[in-house]
Amino acid sequence: MTVLVVSFLLVFVPYFIPWGPLDWLSGKLMTIAAVTNAFTIVIAVYSQFRRSGRFIREKRKGWVYHIYLLVLLAIMTLSGFILGQHAGAYEWLLLAVVTPLSSVIYGILAFYMASAGARAFRARSPQAALLLVAGFIVLLYQAPLTGAFFPGIEGAATYITNTFGMSVSRMFSISVSIGAIVLGVRMLTGREVAFLGFTEGEE
């Protein structure tokens, strides 16, 4: 707890009271924190290993996939360290597997959004009707072709996005920041200790 508060103050205060040594210290603390956080990847990987290990040991359905996964992981890591990041299996896998799939995985969301939109944009209540109309106008504007033929659409669309849409985002960022602040204070005043891994049982 004390560590928490102290480290908080050491980074928090210098932002408002510019004073050489303090700035230096806070800067260093930030770097340290950054590096410390970087270590958590090891834990994530460890838990991945444990899970796969369980699958393989108990010969659960699909355990072969887990062996494949671990092998791939090993190749990737070793090659990355031994041959460096710009050569060998590491680079090849990066180009052949990681980069395409990371695009696909997010790209698939386009389909989900399409089907969701096609299902949800039905004028069945005032709210839904508003959603439908607004969404439709903006969609219409976003199709580049429309802009070429009816420049007028831009006015309507930007009016929707830059006023209503923007206000929603703004309201939201306001309320969330409030929430974050309050939660932060709760943590600092020790009202929220669960995040340190204490659970209700221990407290």
Binding site: I43, S47, I105, Y106, Y112, S175, G179, I181, L183, E192
Partner: protein, 245 residues
């Protein structure tokens, strides 16, 4: 200094222990109905609390999970809680497991609690998502309650849940996600509704107090904006300058 003022205010209001009134969020009734429905159909309920660490949303999501667990324990409905998805979720998971176990114990049926139903689907977001979807496809739950901080995988899950026609109750934790989820799911807790619901359910003083404090801030914000706009338009930018400091 404005910031210090805010902090002082927060602590002061957090200090006072009196439980404020909290409006009931409509989606809560939806949760009850959904769980009831899946009980009748003998289907399980899937409830997740996000892939974030202990942030604003996850705290709320956990309270809602506790509530769902309570109903499930009482009505003897199978509850599946996919966990993991982020490098911090190994902490939140411990809390969640405890929460659910307590709920079953409170309902007097500790033996019904089965930790195998709270699988840890790895710390990677996009290993978590297929795992989650896999659960939905295999178990075909009657209700899917997705709370806490879910990010781009939320659409993915919501659409799948809808595909296996389970009632989908989601909570959006950022704007574009809310807009999308509002379309994809049956009931949605829009942003702040989620913490409010969490506080309403958990009845935990800290959470309720913070909702109260947040409302006060919102009032301050509204007031400032109103006054500010009026002043600015009669030609005095005092508020802007004050805030700019």
């Amino acid at each position: 200094m404005l910031l210090i003022l805010l902090f002082a205010l927060t602590i002061k209001f957090m200090g006072q222990a009196k439980l404020p009134y909290i409006r009931r969020v409509p989606a809560l009734d939806a949760i009850e109905d959904a769980v009831g429905r899946s009980t009748e159909m003998g289907k399980p309920v899937v409830c997740s609390f996000g892939i974030g660490g202990f942030d604003y949303w996850t705290v709320a999501g956990l309270s809602i999970l506790g509530y769902v667990a309570k109903i499930c324990a009482e009505t003897d409905t199978r509850l599946i809680v996919p966990t993991g998805g982020g490098s911090e979720t190994y902490i939140t998971r411990e809390a969640a497991v405890d929460l659910v176990r307590n709920a079953y114990t409170a309902a007097g049926r500790p033996e019904a609690f089965n930790e195998e139903d709270m699988p840890f689907l790895s710390g990677e977001q996009y290993a978590y998502t297929p795992g989650y979807v896999g659960i939905l496809v295999r178990e075909r739950p009657g209700a899917t309650v997705m709370t806490g901080s879910h990010y781009s995988e939320a659409m993915n899950i919501a659409e799948m849940a809808n595909g296996v026609d389970s009632i989908t109750i989601t909570a959006g934790c950022y704007t574009s996600n809310m807009a999308a989820l509002a379309c994809a799911s049956d009931y949605i807790m829009l942003g702040e509704e989620q913490p409010a619901a969490g506080a309403y359910l958990s009845r935990e003083p800290a959470q309720m107090a913070s909702i109260r404090v947040q409302d006060i801030y919102k009032f301050i914000a509204i007031g400032t904006i109103l006054v500010g706009i009026v002043l600015v338009n009669v030609g005095s930018d005092i508020i802007n300058r004050l805030l700019a400091t």
